[in-house]
Amino acid sequence: MVNAIHIISAALGAAFLLGVLKEEQRRTAYAITLAAFAFMTAVSAGWLWAFVMEGAAPVEILTAGGTPPFVINLRMALPEAALTLLANLTGLLSAIYLKEALFAHGRRAMAVLLIAVMALSGIILTRDIFNLFVFFELTAIATGGLILLSENDCSLSAGFKYLIVSQMISVFLLIGIIFAYHATGTLNIDGLATAAHDLLQGNNQAALGLKLAFFLMFIAVVAELKPFPANGWALDIYESAHPAFSAIFSAATASAFLYATDKLLFIGGPDWYPIATGIGIVTFVVSNLLALPQTNDRRQLGYSSIAQTGLVLLVLGQRDILGEATAFIAFGLLLSHAVAKAGLYWLSGLVAERELTAWAALRERPLLVFAFVTFIAMLSGLPPFPGFYAKWELVHLLAGADRLVLIALILLGALVEAGYLFRWFGYIIKREAPAEAAACTTHKLTAVVVAAAAGWALGFLWGDLAGTSFGRGNLLLALPLLFALGFVLFDWLPAWVKNTVAIAGMLAFFGLTYTEYDPLRLIFAIIILIGGPIILLASYHAHGRRIGFYPAAMLMYAGLAMLIRATDSFGFFAAWELLTVGSYFLILRGKNSEPHALSYIVFSLGGAFLILTGFALAAANVVSPAPTFALASLSQLEQPAAPWIFVLLAIGFMTKTAAIGLHIWLPGAHGEAETDVSPMVSGILLKAGLYGLFVLLMTMGKQQLYGIELTHALLWIGALSALLGNLMAIFEEDAKRLLAYSSIGQMGYAVFGLALMNHLGWLMALMFVINHYIYKSMLFLSAGGVAKRTGTRDMYKMGGLITLMPLSFIATLIGIIAVSGVPPLSGFGGRWIFYNAILTTDTRLPLIIIFLAGPIAFLYLFRLIHTIFLGQLKDEHRRIKEAPFWIILPQMIFVALLMVFAVVPGLALRHVDHYLNQFFPEGGLNWTSGTITSNYGYWDPIAIMIIGGVIFMTLFMWLLFVNRKAQKVKQFNIVFSAERPYRPETTHFAWNFFASYRKALGFLVQPFVTRFWGAVTDTLHTGADLARRLYNGNGQTYALHMLAFVSIIYWIYFIGVGI
């Protein structure tokens, strides 16, 4: 192996060599620079390879032929190899990226860049505290120089602010070092640690001196991590410096300083862990909050960088409970942050304007969008990236030690961060692109692409590590996920090819796996893996390549498939996050869906975090904790933790079923989605939440919290969701939103059924799972087809389409018959089981509410037929045609399915009914050929079908007979007088159709919930906006912050701890 000191000697040699060159020989100078960086990178990479692959032992590098502590020594071990590789690689890529700037500024700038990166390696490698100081100063000065590479004039003042602060830091550091040396007689870090450990045994004068000395060193190093509030200078640097430098500053510098902090914590010992944790968590949460109202991209990234550094500091401070896993977690978070932040800063150099919305310039370049997605997914800790595995272990270990407040704060910060990152992504996809598209040269692109590739590679590596160390699966080896990711690579193919592959793939996967499901899961598997392809048939109508659709859709389906196949909590949660992200991308594709997609992802991630916490608590409380905690062992949980876990998980799952209170994202998200996406997210995705509830109730059953039966609470939530969802639907003018609100109601029924906690209730919930998939998919497709043809979704703008779009009409008609539960269609089966089921409960009030919800459903469903297909045809719609074939085809399949299912419900339900016997032996149904018997009565689907059919035909014939002489009235056969109304639609009979009901029931549909969540976001924004005035831009104030920070920590530690 090449001695690691050559990282330093090569950089210095090259830097000095540059001085010999003439100012004009820039090309040569640049070549030398790149060669030096490449060499440095190769040395680090070689060591990393040796440590990882060959299991090499850590190496001490001695200088001057002596032994430490008398000479300075460096150490090369696994962490050092990884971190120097990170630093040098970032340096190399930034040097490539900076080509123009470096040519403009000449060899001196190149030398400064080389030395800056070398100094970072020095910080990482050195084991001598004063040597650390020297490298600190080198870093600080080089930073002062590199800031000047920026084209932004303000960088000058930012650099000066940094120099002021670094002067203060070096004063504290030096004083600390000399007193530590005096107390221990050594400058060697390992020696200091040993000496400190011995000295601190006694509580004498010298120990006090050492503690103070350590305090000064520690605070100086931590100050370089930009802790809140002493970090205004760093934000200014991030905002104004050249993006390539910010990439180094964020990725490499922060990592090196974190490692230096780790070395200091090694000296100081566990006494200092709480302080590190405190600084870390405050910085993490506050910085993320402050980033919320930010509109400048680089400054926002700066806030995010600071936050991430705080998070890693927190991890270092939790070493006492994280133990062996510390490195896995800290590196997972750190590398995710570093790669993503470097990539994002490099990307920001391709965007001309500094407004976040200007990033829409990237939209035309799928490669860049993909890179961006990779980066924000890494930052948000989504699977399959290292941050995800790290977050999982972190939360689990914290939960094991009962540090729940910390978990809550971490997840709050993470949620806020995900919020503004995804908001940003929404801008890219949805905002108007500026005139000039992203300008990228090959070398700039190289840096971004390498970062994105590194992100995926790290994801694989971390999955592998998680597998070997913690017994979790490597997500990147999961077949469904690989299949979905394949679409990213082949996104250049025409849409129909991808569609075919997608359908074939899903069906094939079902074929491969269908023997593995139990009857309950089989139903979900069929809906996802067969139902999915049926909806995908509608996607054949799309032309062109439809970039981005298939990766997103397949990611969602992959997540769903993995969800129902998951047997342990990790697999379940990973799948949950995957399907959440996939569906978010899908939803975002809708024309006006930017805000709705954002609220969807925020609610979903919030819910996911609750689930994560729930699982973590469960893992800590399972009677016999296993390396992998099987979902089934949820049933072993006992008081007092069990009900809390139940609550966390239930709320988490109900964010997906859009239970009332958590529903505000649904109408927009489902309503604004594309024609073939709405059925996917409504018909299939919502079932994920129900599946979660099934799993939860199957394992945990009834739980009591403060004397409240939690399933009763669920019962109420279900009933209220049903009532209010239906009520909100009836006042809706927009056909797709109406259907969306209706989903809230339908899911309410299903939750209600589940919460009944008996055989029939569950059967009913399953009926709803199946039925809702069929009829909601069908109705959404139908409404989507109509909207496609008419160009509007407002129902009062339609009318009389029955003759022009007869197939859509039939689908809608069948659909609403099925939804409303009128015989003969399968909805009735659902109702029948439903009525049987609710009769088994003895809670009266929710029962009444859910009864009430029934007729209300009929009111809004009626409008679909009445307003869209009946009535007068609008003039502008005279020439429209039936919806495209590919949109009609799945609808017809659904019609057939409904018929079949209505006649032989036993096909699906019979096995489940038997299966449910193991949970509820009582109250099952009796399936004899043709008829189904319950305790309360019997149901003969075939007879009902026949009777229903006869009645329908009779009525239909009679209607034709009485209508044969009816006179047709032309639409304009009305005499208008007076003025043209200001809002013409108000004169339409179908507008505000249920206004009279609104008078009576309107108070129930006031958007209280929307206002509540709106108020929450507003408060966060306003608070953050006020708080960030702290950073008034004055270098002196920042210095004051630094001093205040030092004093506060001093008082907290020495007074609070009371030495």
Partner: protein, 118 residues
């Protein structure tokens, strides 16, 4: 004497920090920081001092054999050498910045350079 040097050093540090935080003129801030730097150096050398011993240089007066009993701790001195040079480096850099800032706005008032904030 070590206490005298240390106390003076600490006082100089405080004076320097006070000056850097209250003077709005950039050049004065830099001057104040050099005062603080000198204070730091004084503290470091003060910490290394031992009563009744001589400088760590071996010559006719101090033979190599009894150096252990005669000389003071050489390490802080070596550290201060480095610290002084680094200090002057930072000072020069800050001065160059000060000049450039002045060139940009024709003022040396730090409170005028607050374009970046929030």
């Amino acid at each position: 004497m070590d206490y005298i040097a240390m106390t003076t050093g600490f006082i100089l540090i405080l004076i320097g920090l006070f000056g850097a935080l209250t003077n709005r003129n950039i050049l004065r801030m830099i001057v104040a920081f050099t005062v603080a730097d000198t204070g730091v150096n004084l503290v470091i050398v003060g910490v290394g001092y031992m009563r009744g011993r001589t400088a760590p240089i071996l010559d006719s007066a101090v033979a190599a054999a009894d150096a252990v009993a005669r000389i003071i701790d050489p390490v802080p001195q070596a550290l201060v050498l480095t610290a002084i040079v680094i200090g002057v480096g930072v000072t020069a850099l800050m001065l160059a910045y000060a000049y450039k800032l002045y060139e940009k706005k024709h003022t040396l008032d730090i409170a005028k350079f607050t374009e970046l904030k929030w």
